[in-house]
């Protein structure tokens, strides 16, 4: 009987020890001063600590991959039942064009709720932030519109991250190609 209790305790210990999701990276510092789609100043990640975060990276002038990333995040939010304790944040890596006003239009186009924020920053801050989350970008090519306006496109990392309440990275996925069901199920395990 005594040995059975020992076994049970060891079994529970093993499960508890193993069920902690490993931290892949600590993004709790440094902090970055950003602006959301409503023109409000926010500090990343400080203002978001205390809740889980689904974090994506997009730019508005991307017609294919970035809308897929945004839609995947929206689907995760919907599948989770729009919980208050999971926030959704998409950061633009094209701060020169993606002003708060443009981000607001983009957000409205996807019919996203108040728990889904889009962030931009000055180019220096954004560059440092993107380095910290290991998102790579490069201008891929430029073309000229019929009105003489220069249009450029950006090659970029394609990913969605999940951060825990301490702003530590616990999951990372391909942003556009991952089935949102998988992200949803992972988040349910840790909530």
């Amino acid at each position: 009987m005594k040995s059975l209790s020992v076994f049970s305790l060891l079994f529970l210990f093993a499960i508890t020890a193993c069920s902690r999701v490993p931290v892949l990276d600590d993004l709790s510092s440094p902090s970055f001063n950003m602006i959301n789609q409503d023109g409000e100043e926010v500090v990343f990640p400080d203002d978001f600590k205390g809740k889980y975060m689904v974090l994506g990276f997009i730019y508005i002038n991307c017609p294919d991959v970035c809308p897929m990333i945004t839609q995947n995040m929206k689907n995760v939010q919907s599948q989770l039942g729009n919980p208050d304790d999971v926030q959704f944040v998409a950061v633009t890596f094209d701060p020169e064009r993606d002003t708060p006003e443009e981000l607001k239009k983009y957000k409205d186009m996807f019919k996203l709720d108040t728990n889904f924020n889009f962030l931009t920053a000055d180019t220096t801050t954004m560059s440092a932030f993107l380095d910290s989350v290991r998102v790579r970008t490069q201008i891929s090519f430029t073309t000229e519109s019929d009105t003489g306006e220069e249009l450029y496109f950006i090659n970029h990392s394609n990913k969605i991250m999940v951060l825990n309440r301490k702003a530590q990275l616990i999951y990372e996925y391909g942003g556009s190609m991952t089935n949102p069901n998988m992200i949803t199920e992972d988040i349910k395990k840790v909530l």
Binding site: F7, V23, D64, K105, N155
Partner: protein
């Protein structure tokens, strides 16, 4: 006794052996055929369609135009050599007889640049394919908000 302890520890760890690194299976969603994304005037838009060359000879896509945008190009999404997502223009696509040109998410797509109007769900975009042999072919494309990856699109209008 010692063997049993190791057995229980082994079973416990195997039962929850997540690592945080996730595989990336493709979404199982059936692709839409003809559809355009909602878009904002002055910005970029994306659209997808299929077109089959029904001529007995090969044909070439010379250009694309649309009532919704000042500039239209065919682009493809690809992964660069260093593993990031890129996009590039594709010109002069040749279609053999009965060959179907498929534009879909994450692959070939229509790049609508400098949108002339907002596109909202329920709107329609007209796209004109200029082909070397078949001439101009107009394609009617509905604007749809997709539920990418995870929900069934099969009931959307084509």
């Amino acid at each position: 006794m010692r063997k049993s302890v190791f057995f229980f520890l082994f079973i416990g760890c195997v039962a929850c052996s997540g690592t945080g690194q996730k595989p990336e299976p493709s979404a199982e969603t059936p692709p839409l055929e003809n559809w355009a994304r909602p878009a904002v005037k002055g910005s970029m838009g994306g659209a997808y369609f299929v077109y089959t060359n029904e001529l007995p000879a090969a044909d070439t896509v010379l250009s694309v135009a649309s009532d919704a945008a000042r500039m239209v190009q065919l682009h493809e999404t690809y992964e660069t050599d260093d593993g990031i997502s890129g996009m590039r223009e594709v010109k002069n696509i040749i279609l053999q007889p009965e060959e179907t040109l498929v534009l879909e998410e994450g692959g070939l797509h229509l790049m609508l640049m400098n949108m002339q109007r907002n596109l909202a769900e329920g709107d329609t975009v007209f796209v004109t394919l200029k082909l070397a042999q078949a001439g101009d072919r107009e394609i009617k494309i509905p604007v749809i908000s997709p539920s990418a990856g995870g929900e069934d699109h099969s009931n959307h209008p084509q």
